[in-house]
Amino acid sequence: MKIKSVAFWLGTIIVLLIFVLPLMWMYLTSIKANADIYSTSISKLFVFSPTLENYHHLFFKTGFLREFWNTLVVAVSSTALVMAVSLPAAYSFSRYNTGHGHLLFITISTRMFPGAVAAIPFFFGFKALGLLDTTFGLTILYLYFNMSFAIFLLYGFFREIPVELEQAAMIDGHSQLAIFRKVIFPLIKPGAAITAIFCLVFSWNEFLFAFLFTRTAARTVNIGLSTFWTATGMNWGAMAGCTAAAIMPTLAAAWFMQRYIIRGLTFGAVKG
């Protein structure tokens, strides 16, 4: 029994090291000066004088704060849009089997289209409408980007709600709309919250569309991050600082909402 328990904790520690150590190392690097980062001596890995130089550079010499704000605006507004479209649609799919699964599959398959090419028609369309490099344009694109996953998730959550509840409400003479508002919505709220968290995180992390559709005004943190790679090579210290700051919100989300996120990951295929 004892050997078993030792083996278990050893395994746990190894697993933790694999997944957490790289992140901690990133934060450690972000408070190193470039001279220490580029050093090839082992001792410099741990022994160095900490500095906030990288963060100072990030906040005062780059457009990071602006990029952070842009990303926040786009993530929140696109998530609101996604939910407005996905909630009724997923409800219809799960309750009435609308389209006999075909339409659901088509919806999910929107993500199978190579992003770069889905971008071409939009690029010209946005150019004509003056939506290039605007947060509004990016918001619309993220509606497309997140919708299929949101519907897939919500579909699972709606399936968990027993039909009997609705039938009872129907017999009581409530209209369909009233049922959705008074019976379904309170029950789907946790699932909807989980879906919204995922949409926020995915929007925050999206790169390809942001890369193709923004230049300066609507740049997101990911685009800011990619600019540390210049023709002369990577400025690793600044990059480490930017990464550390850029991933902070999603790390916080992962930490504080782990229970809900883990529940969302199982798509309602597993109850409990």
Partner: protein, 314 residues
Amino acid sequence: MSVRENEINTEMVAPLDFSGKRTLWETLTGEKYYKWTLIIPLLLVLAIFMLYPMIYCLFYSFHEWGMRKPPTFAGLENYRDVLRDSKFWLALFKTLQVLVFSIGVELVVAMGISVMFNREFRGQNPIRGFILLPLLISPLAVSMMWNFFLQYDFGVINLTLNLIGLPKVLWFSPKWALYTIAMISIWQWTPFSIFVLLAGLKSLPRDMFEASRVDGASAWYTFWKITLPNLVPLIMIIVLLRTMWLIRLFDPLYGTTRGGAGTELLDWQVYRETFVYFDIGRGSSMAIISLVLTLVVCAIMFRQLMKVLGSQEG
């Protein structure tokens, strides 16, 4: 609003109203059309974001269009060129390689870890929380972070290898780059498989395992005959989603090799063809081919998944 609702209520209570004077709103929320009304926004979004780019792409995949000159009709020429291009097949093959390698490693590793964690232990919540962390970080940030760790001269991985007496490795050389990128993706996404499988393990009825223990079955036998078959739907979900995501692998390439060192995967090639060379016709035809391949593979998986989920319910 409340007046409006009352109207609908009376409408619903008295469905035997043959007056035939229904307003548009009442028709939309009526029994027959309600389910379609709910998906009108979705249909609109699909039309704009799916139909439009698809038709656009399909149209220009039959055209020669290099941006500088107006497009001219070229029939199936683009498709013929792409299918004859060994670079396209190489990219396809490499994408497949990454797909099989990543999903294989992820499933095996995640299965081991989730079986290990399928118990109550002290500090289980914070430990699970820590494992969740990589999953929600921007893939671009992850790849740049690993790019930094894997630098030849001063990367922490090579320095550590040196310390324990192993030679340094050129992680982004043609020999290793593809697997390095796959490993970066595996590092980020294994937690996803862990949590899906762990939820599956927790939902399995306990008496099933007790019965097999009473029968004197070994842990290994129990795993293969009871645990694994019950996890099949979840494994299918993982494979389906990871396939969809991995075929579209792009960010880790941007953060590391940018398609160099023999790591030009399918989506990167499409991107380069369209946004670097501005060969819209060719890029479009590649996209259509790639889309059809993905659709066929995922449709088969999706159908299987629906079958399994359906049989579970009944």
